[in-house]
C-alpha cells in the first residue's frame, strides 16, 4: 500500500522515469472526460494534472479569481514541475480548468495541445454522435503528432487494460462495504489518485498484489462512524486522514478524482470510438454535466445506502463553480431523505484546526453515545 502513496507523492519522478524507460511521450490532461484509452493506444502516458500544496506566487496576474486547484496547475507549469509533459489536453469541463489550459499554453507554446469538446448535456439525443466525432478528431490529432496510426487492436488492448483497472479499483472499493473494512478511506483514495498518474498496466499488477494482501489483513477493531465524501476534486488524502485520526472512516466517495474516475467501464462494440464515447458520457455525472436528466443525486444516495454510511461530508473547493451551483440541490435531496451532512469550503490547503473542529463536531453528532438529554 505504501507504494501507491510513494508514487502519488513522487508523481513527477514516476513520469520522468517512465519516459526515460520507454522513450514515450507524456500527455497531461485536466478533466475526467479525457478519453484516456485513445491516448494509451497511441503509446502515450496520460497523466492527470493534480494540484499540490505549494505557495502560489506566479498566477495572480494570469488567473485571478479562479479556484486554487486550477491556479496551482499553472503555478506548477511555470515553475517547471511538469517539464516532462509533451502535450496538454483539456476535455471540456469547468471554466477554471479551461482557463488553466489556455493560460498554460501562453507560456508553453511548444507543447502539443488539443481541446476535446464534451457536450454539457451528456444525455442529449445528439450527444453521443457529437462526442464520437470529437474523439475521431482527437485520434487523428494524436496520430499526426506521433506519426503513427492508432490501430483497432491497440484500442482494444487499451480498453481492456483500462477496464481491468476499473474492475480492480471496484474490488478495492467493495472491501469498504464491510462492517469493519480492511482498507481505510485514505488508502483507497491514494490508490485511485495514483492510478491517474500511472501506467495502467503497471498499476493493475500493483492492484492485484494489494488486493491479495488486503485479503489477509485484519480489519480495524474500532470501525467508528462511516462517512461518505462528496464534492470538488481533490489531489490529496488529508481530509480522509483527519477523519481517521478522529476514529471515523470515509467508506465511500463521490468525487471525480475518486470513485467517479473508475466507476463505469467501456462496453466493447464494433465501433470502438462510440464505445469509448458512451463510457465517458455515461460515467457518474460530474456536477457540471448533470443537466437534463439529474442522475447525480440518485447516484449519491445509492452509494450512501450501499456503503451504509452514517453521514455525508460535502467539501467544496473554494470558487469551484460547478459544485457551487450543484450543491443546493444535493443539500435538498439529502435533507428530504434525512441524511445528515456537513458542508464546508476548502482551499487547496486544508485549514487543519478549523476543519478538525468541523469534523469532530460532525462525527460526534453521528455517534449514538452522545445522545443529549
Amino acid at each position: 500500500m505504501e507504494r501507491f502513496k510513494e508514487i502519488l507523492e513522487d508523481r513527477h519522478e514516476y513520469a520522468r522515469a517512465w519516459k526515460k524507460r520507454t522513450g514515450g511521450k507524456v500527455l497531461g490532461y485536466y478533466e475526467p472526460y479525457m478519453p484516456e484509452e485513445i491516448v494509451y493506444a497511441a503509446g502515450i502516458l496520460p497523466v492527470r494534472l493534480l494540484s499540490q500544496h505549494e505557495p502560489d506566487d506566479t498566477t495572480d496576474r494570469q488567473m485571478y479569481g479562479n479556484c486554487a486547484c486550477s491556479r496551482d496547475l499553472l503555478n506548477q507549469f511555470i515553475k517547471g514541475r511538469y517539464d516532462y509533459v509533451d502535450g496538454l489536453v483539456n476535455a471540456e469541463g469547468c471554466q477554471w480548468m479551461l482557463n488553466a489550459f489556455q493560460t498554460t499554453l501562453n507560456f508553453k507554446t511548444a507543447l502539443f495541445n488539443h481541446y476535446v469538446f464534451v457536450p454539457d448535456y451528456v444525455d442529449g439525443k445528439t450527444s453521443k454522435d457529437v462526442m464520437r466525432s470529437e474523439l475521431e478528431v482527437f485520434k487523428k490529432a494524436l496520430e499526426k503528432w506521433t506519426g503513427k496510426a492508432i490501430t483497432g487492436s491497440a484500442l482494444d488492448h487499451a480498453i481492456e487494460v483500462y477496464n481491468t483497472n476499473r474492475r480492480l479499483m471496484r474490488q478495492v472499493y467493495e472491501l469498504r462495504r464491510a462492517d469493519s473494512p480492511v482498507v481505510l478511506g485514505s488508502e483507497a483514495m491514494e490508490m485511485v489518485l495514483a492510478s491517474q498518474v500511472m501506467d495502467k498496466a503497471e498499476m493493475n499488477d500493483m492492484l492485484r498484489d494489494a488486493i491479495a494482501k488486503l485479503a489477509e489483513r485484519k480489519p480495524r477493531s474500532d470501525t467508528g462512524v462511516r462517512l461518505m465524501l462528496v464534492g470538488s476534486p481533490t489531489s490529496d488524502v488529508e481530509l480522509e486522514k483527519l477523519v481517521e485520526s478522529l476514529g471515523a472512516n470515509v467508506v465511500i466517495d463521490e468525487i471525480c478524482t475518486g470513485s467517479c474516475y473508475f466507476w463505469n467501464e467501456v462496453i466493447p462494440q464494433p465501433d470502438r470510438l462510440m464505445a469509448i464515447s458512451l463510457r465517458y458520457l455515461g460515467r457518474p455525472h460530474c456536477a457540471l454535466k448533470d443537466n437534463n436528466w439529474r442522475r447525480r443525486p440518485a447516484h449519491i444516495y445509492q452509494l450512501y445506502e450501499d456503503f451504509q454510511a452514517h453521514g455525508v461530508i460535502i467539501a467544496k473547493q473554494i470558487y469551484c463553480h460547478p459544485h457551487g451551483t450543484d450543491n443546493p440541490l444535493i443539500w435538498k435531496v439529502l435533507r428530504e431523505r434525512n441524511i445528515p451532512f456537513h458542508y464546508f469550503e476548502r482551499d487547496t490547503t486544508l485549514p487543519y484546526e478549523e476543519t478538525r473542529l468541523r469534523m469532530e463536531a460532525f462525527i460526534n453528532m453521528l455517534k449514538p453515545e452522545l445522545v443529549l438529554k
Binding site: L357, A361, F362, N364, M365, V371, L372, K373
Partner: protein, 286 residues
C-alpha cells in the same frame, strides 16, 4: 493611565448552598476559547462553581487558573472531580481533562441546560467563530454551520472597536440601540477595514453611537447569513460572549423575526456547562 475599553468583566462564583461532599457525581467542564476560558464544576445536576476568565498566552495555565477559581474556597480539589471534559480551541491543553468534545455539541448541551429543553436553534457567538446549531426535539444536534476561515466581526473584532471608539465593551450594545433608526451597516466587518470605515463615518459627522450601530448592524447581518443556512426554528438561544451584547442580539432578533430565550445564567458558560454535563453522561454510561 489609559483605560482598557476592550476588557470585559471576569467573574467567578462558588455555591455556598451545595454540600459537595454529599454529591454522588462531581464533574467539570473547561471551555478554552481564543479570548476567554470558562471552567464549570457540577455536583450531580447542579451548578456548583464557575470561573470566566481571559485566556492567557499559556492555555494550560489558563485552564488551571479557571478551575482553581471555580473551586474557590470550597475545599474541593481537582482530585475530587470524577470526570472532566475539555472543549474549545485550546481543549487539547487541558492536562486534567479525561476527554475532549467539540464545541458544537457542548454548546448545544449547555444551551438546553441554561435555556431549557425547548431550544431548537443555538447560535454560539464566540471570539472567533459563529456556530449556528440546529437541534432535534430530543436535544441531539441535527445540523450546524460555522463561519468560514475569517474571524471577522466576532468577539475579538468587538474588542478592537471598543478600543478605537473608547467605549467600554459592555456598554457598546445598549448605546448602539439608542440611535432610533439604524444607519447603513458598514460595508465590511473585517477589523482593519471596519476601523478605517468607522473613522470615515466620524469624518462624515456620525456620532459615536451611530458608528456603533453601523458596525453592530453589519455584524448581526453577517451572523444572520450563517444562521440562515441551518433553517433556524423557535426556540432560539444565544450563547458565547457576544450573546451579552444587546446591540447584536436585538438586531438578530429583529432580522430573524424571532425572540431569543433569556436566562439568569451567563451565556458565556454554555460550552463549559455542556462539557460538564457530557462528563456526567460519560460517568453514568461507564
Amino acid at each position: 493611565m489609559t483605560q482598557d475599553y476592550w476588557r470585559w468583566p471576569e467573574s467567578t462564583w462558588t455555591s455556598k448552598d451545595i454540600d459537595w461532599k454529599n454529591s454522588s457525581t462531581i464533574t467539570a467542564g473547561v471551555d478554552i476559547g481564543s479570548n476567554s476560558t470558562q471552567a464549570v464544576v457540577m455536583c450531580d445536576n447542579s451548578l456548583f462553581g464557575y470561573a470566566n476568565l481571559r485566556t492567557g498566552p499559556d492555555y494550560r495555565e489558563s485552564a488551571g487558573q479557571a478551575m482553581k477559581q471555580a473551586l474557590g474556597k470550597s475545599g474541593m480539589t481537582i482530585r475530587d472531580i470524577k470526570y472532566t471534559v475539555a472543549t474549545g480551541w485550546g481543549s487539547r491543553n487541558v492536562a486534567f481533562a479525561q476527554k475532549i468534545v467539540d464545541e458544537v455539541n457542548c454548546h448545544a448541551r449547555g444551551a438546553r441546560f441554561i435555556y431549557g429543553s425547548s431550544v431548537k436553534t443555538v447560535v454560539d457567538l464566540g471570539a472567533q467563530t459563529c456556530k449556528a446549531i440546529r437541534l432535534y426535539d430530543w436535544g441531539r444536534v441535527s445540523d450546524f454551520m460555522m463561519n468560514d476561515k475569517c474571524a471577522t466581526g466576532m468577539g475579538r473584532g468587538i474588542e478592537v472597536m471598543a478600543d478605537l471608539l473608547q467605549v467600554p465593551i459592555q456598554e457598546m450594545g445598549e448605546r448602539s440601540l439608542t440611535v432610533g433608526k439604524d444607519p447603513e451597516p458598514v460595508s465590511t466587518t473585517c477589523y482593519d477595514f471596519a476601523n478605517t470605515e468607522a473613522i470615515g463615518l466620524f469624518r462624515e459627522g456620525y456620532k459615536e453611537n451611530e458608528v456603533l450601530a453601523a458596525y453592530l448592524f453589519a455584524i448581526a447581518w453577517r451572523i444572520h447569513g450563517t444562521v440562515g443556512k441551518v433553517n433556524p426554528e423557535k426556540e432560539l438561544a444565544f450563547t458565547g460572549g457576544l450573546a451579552k451584547n444587546a446591540g447584536i442580539v436585538k438586531r438578530l432578533e429583529r432580522d430573524m423575526k424571532m425572540t431569543a430565550l433569556t436566562s439568569e445564567y451567563d451565556p458565556q458558560l454554555a460550552g463549559a456547562i455542556g462539557a460538564a454535563l457530557i462528563a456526567r453522561d460519560t460517568v453514568e454510561k461507564d
